[in-house]
């Protein structure tokens, strides 16, 4: 079996331990992230771990890639410290305000520039966005297959991936030709800890930074202008509890309950 070259999409997200300190900016409808430490998106750690295990089995390379502000250089160095061979940061003011489609468009352009790959691994969704859309969108832009909710990956023969895709109850086995995009869930593995021995090397490693001029992209399809979805509002919903008591025999109360739920628009 020849070596397998993987690309792992990673995203720095606010450290969940500090979420209580995140504030909403009502004017821009965004989260104020200043001063909040970042971590690699937890599911991306699982994606990176899986890529490293595949490399340890078959050989090949692991490249981490991220579209993020320049400060994400540290996060990509962290990915190298964990075990990635190299890293690419896509950073440009024109990328700002991108929704998942514009983000996936830029990532796909960078992946095309990186050249040949066998696997693209993503975390199934990010901790802060939670859409799960970027992986499938990258696959569409690249014209390759995509499987989400991947909890196991086998590479039984050259050019073929056989994966377990989690369903609500159980799982489905999917076989697909490489190259393809796989979005992984946490059940796939237990990510390794950062080896202190790699930290110094990671700090010396070059993190390539590509701006929009370095990529073959249409400026109308990147950043805010390339985003068909706009955030209309961002708020913390109020959760209130209201109680209503219904008394009577079960058959009477159950009818009352159904009528009430219909009145409230629940049914």
């Amino acid at each position: 079996m020849p070596p397998v070259n993987s690309i792992v999409c990673v995203k720095p997200v606010p450290d969940p331990r500090y979420w209580s300190e995140l504030a909403l900016d009502p004017a821009t409808k965004t989260l104020r992230r200043e001063g909040i430490p970042v971590v690699l998106n937890p599911l991306d750690r699982h994606a990176l771990e899986e890529a490293l295990r595949i490399k340890e089995t078959f050989g090949g390379t692991v490249t981490a890639i991220s579209m993020a502000p320049l400060t994400a250089t540290d996060s990509l160095r962290e990915a190298i410290a964990i075990g990635a061979d190299d890293a690419v940061l896509l950073s440009d003011k024109s990328f700002a305000g991108a929704d998942t489609l514009a983000t996936a468009y830029v990532l796909a352009a960078a992946i095309k520039k990186l050249g040949r790959f066998d696997l693209i691994l993503c975390g199934n969704q990010s901790l802060d966005g939670g859409t799960g859309q970027v992986g499938p969108e990258i696959a569409e832009f690249l014209g390759v297959p995509h499987v989400a909710y991947v909890r196991k990956i086998d590479l039984p023969e050259q050019g073929i991936a056989r994966v377990e895709r989690g369903l609500e109850y159980g799982y489905m086995v999917v076989e697909a030709r490489m190259p393809l995009v796989l979005s992984v869930v946490k059940e796939i593995n237990v990510p390794r800890h950062v080896s202190l021995m790699r930290i110094s090397e990671a700090m010396q490693a070059e993190v390539r930074v590509w701006a929009s001029r370095d990529l073959d992209v249409d400026s109308s399809r990147i950043g805010l202008s390339g985003s068909p979805t706009q955030v209309a509002d961002l708020f913390i919903p109020e959760t209130k509890r209201r109680g209503e008591m219904m008394r009577g025999a079960p058959d009477v109360v159950s009818k009352l309950l159904i009528e009430r739920l219909r009145e409230l628009g629940v049914l």
Binding site: R77, E78, A81, H193, V194, S195, L196, S200, M203
Partner: protein, 379 residues
Amino acid sequence: MDFAPTPEQEILRKSVREFAEAEIRPKVQQMDETDKVPMDVLEKMAKLGFIGVMVPREYGGLGMGHIARTIVLEEVGRVSAAMANTLQITHLGISPIASDGTEDQKKKWLPVLARGEKLSTFAVTEPTGGSDVLGIQTTAKLEGDEYVINGRKCFISNSHIAGVLGILAKTGEGTKGLTVFVVQSDFPGFRPGREENKFGLRGCNTGELVFENCRVPKENVIGKEGDGLRIALSAISNVGRPGITCAALGIIRSCLEEAVRYSKQRVLYGKPISELQAVQWNLTDIYMDYEASRLLTYYSAWLRDKGERCDAENAIAKFSACEAAVRCAKKTIDIFGAYGCMRELAPQRLLRDAELLISGAGTSDIMRLVMARKALTLA
């Protein structure tokens, strides 16, 4: 003057904290109850480079400095002072070999120790001398190509798990009458003796070492015969004492987090107790102790990384952090009230752990003597 950590230091701190939370925290209660060292965790730490953090790269270590070591130990100590002490003692055991060993000795032991294949310790204290180093009575007599060591050491951390031990023994009289030897645990005539049952730092093994005509090759002398006092005091001042300081700093950090978290959750008089001034005064006392101890600890590490002699600064940091750890743990218990005395919760363990740190690597009173020597030169 730049107090900001470097990106490398940030990644180091984050990585160690993540490891400590995932691998050490689940074991903390069990360690406290059983007093057993989680060897599987030590093995994982070794593989990740925690033990070899200051061993030069050419001998298989990370070649990092004192600030990096401080970060590692503080983050481990924040979760478990017992584990931090176990780890820092391995660094102490490595230190004389790294600083004064011959090239052959370094090649023989440093890679093995850096990889954690064997653990280490450094044994000075005896019933007749700890603070009074010259009071030790373990002897080493040269017979042909071997030294024969007789005596007992007490209160030695890692006594029963170390495979490579640095031992201070008498080869003569006076300040030039002490020598450091490397003893391997499989040498005939050596055995660990009684294992202590401490009320704190449980899960860090402490015990006795027994030497009964223990034969040690003369190639295992570190430095020269008679260099022992200098080597031992340097290792203790620059590695052992700061290691304990870092464990204390971790305790203070833990006190701060536990106290803040609890006070925001505990509701009395219709509001969280964090809104009560009396509680806030306790919290700010802990916070001030944390910031002050942190500055002293990292400042002394910075001096050591510059290669400057800083025995007084090491002593100030150790005294301050350890005494502060006891104070802060007591205040944390006060904030928790009766809950603070329950074995299931952290505060009482933090106090028990902190108290043990005061007597390690030089008591607070000895630290005052070290500081006094420098203080008396300042005018």
